[in-house]
Every structure is written in C-alpha cells, then in structure tokens.
Symmetry: C2
Subunit: 129 residues, 2 copies
DNA sequence: GGTTGACTTCGAGCGCCGTCGAACTGGGAA
DNA sequence: TTCCCAGTTCGACGGCGCTCGAAGTCAACC
C-alpha cells in the first residue's frame, strides 16, 4: 500500500459501507460524473478521503429526496467550478427544497386517505362482527 | 352508444383525465390486475363507473406514497374477494401507513440537511461579497 | 357516404437507476 | 510461492412503471 495513504482514506468497499451504497454504485456515480475522479493509491485503487465520503453522503440525501441523477450531475458540475457557482448551487438547493416540501404535503394528504380507509375497514369489520 | 350508458359512466379518456393518469396507464392497470375488468358498452368500449373512478383515485394515492404495483395488485386481489378480506386489507394499509410515516421522517431529516447547505452557501456568498 | 377521432388489442420499446459477470491485477497472509 | 481477496475495466443485463406504434373498429358529424 502507498506510504502516502492517510489513515482517513478508505477503499471503495469501506466507503460503500459507510454511505450505504454498493461498490458498484460508487464506481457508477464516479463514471456518471456525480463524484469527481477519486484519488488512487500506487496500485491504481480508489482511496476515498473524508471529504469524498461527505460528498457521497450529501448525494445520498439528495437521491433520497428524489433528485434525479441528472440534476445531481448538474450540481456536481457546479461544485467543481468553485466559488463562482455558489449562488447557482444555492438556487438549485432552494428549488429542490420547494419540491421536497411539496412532496411532504402530498404525503400528508395521502396519509389522511390511508387513515380514512383504515377507519372505514375497522368500522366495516365491526359491522360484520 | 349503448342506451344503458349511465350519465355517470366515463370513457377511458374521460376517466384518465379525472384521475390524472393516461389512457395507456388505465388499460395497463386493468391488464395488470390493479383494476377489475371494466364494463363495456355495446361496441366493446370501456365505461368507467363512479366507483371505478373512486378505485382508480385510491390507486393513485397508494402509488404516490410509493406502494409498488405488485402490492397494489395484491390489494386489488383482496378487495375482489369481498368482506372476508377486510382484516387483511386493513393490515396491509396499516403496514403501508407505517412505511409512509417512516418516509416522511426521512424527508424531514433530509430537509434539515438541505437547509443546512442552503445556509452554508448563503454564508459563503457573504464571505466572498 | 366519407372523414374524423377516440376507441380496441398486441407486442415492442423506453427512461431511470443501478447491478452484475467476466477477465484481469496486485498486495497480504500462510 | 502460492493462495485468496478485494480491487480494476468494460459492456451487458434487469426491474420497475409505464409509453407508444401499428393496425383495426366504430359512432358521430358534415
């Protein structure tokens, strides 16, 4: 192993476990441009730094909130362009935030339908009992 | 048009518009067993009753809460078996309710990450200004 | 009677997001 | 030294949920 490897650097397998993705997915994210090319050790293996892992973690949150991979790629591209895209990135997050709020409102509405049906079933069961 | 057509019965196109699905999807749902075979008029065209539309509406809510088509099919099968499956249907909804609540909790957590990032960008922008 | 347009069935195709197998390489332990 | 394991690249494949095109039918309207 490369002498320059820091204790805080992880293999693809370790990084995958940390962020709850598979090694397949990690390599695929990199290939898709969601993650900047990850550093390699002397034998060509990926070494994930703490900041790579943080980035991956953020991606999992974006993904979980339903952001399409396409938009995550756009975000990653902006991030790679440095400080001058801070505003654009904030705008992107604010727009996404709005979508997440809308989604939450939808879910609350749907939950009411679910509760209504559960209650209706309960009453129907009593009726038959 | 069939003389027996009730004013409340809709063509596939009308039903699709009402519930916010496409005609393709409506036919596909039927084919997949998510909807019991819909009545036809004298020339073989689907006629959706009010209760068909209500059922479709419920399906859209289940779908929107992330219930897989597979589970919706299972639910539809139970519903077709009549009152003796009321308990099973209620259990299915209760289990799904739990998943929806978990999903909402996740979203709230993710929203906090989003808000944190938005704020971080805002502060970084001020820093540069 | 001819045209229009919404319907019918059928099977194929698509977009998204991974997931995997094959074939190979390199480092660490026995 | 040999073995094993985790890594590497590449391209193919899979599940899910639709989506669509083709070819045909039928009621309605001009």
């Amino acid at each position: 192993m490369d002498i320059s490897t820091r204790e805080t650097s992880l293999t693809v397998g370790e990084a995958a476990e940390r962020v709850g993705l598979t090694t397949y997915t990690l390599r695929w994210y990199e290939q898709e441009g969601l993650v900047a090319p990850v550093g390699r050790d002397s034998s060509g293996r990926r070494r994930y730094t703490e900041s790579d892992v943080n980035w991956l973690f953020l991606l999992t949150r974006l993904r979980r909130t339903g952001m399409p991979v396409r938009d995550m790629r756009r975000y990653a591209e902006l991030a790679r362009q440095g400080d001058r895209t801070l505003g654009a990135r904030r705008a992107l997050f604010e727009a996404h935030r709005t979508r997440v709020l809308a989604r939450m409102a939808e879910l609350e509405e749907d939950l009411r339908v679910l509760d209504y049906k559960i209650d209706a079933y309960r009453r129907a069961e009593e009726e038959l009992a």
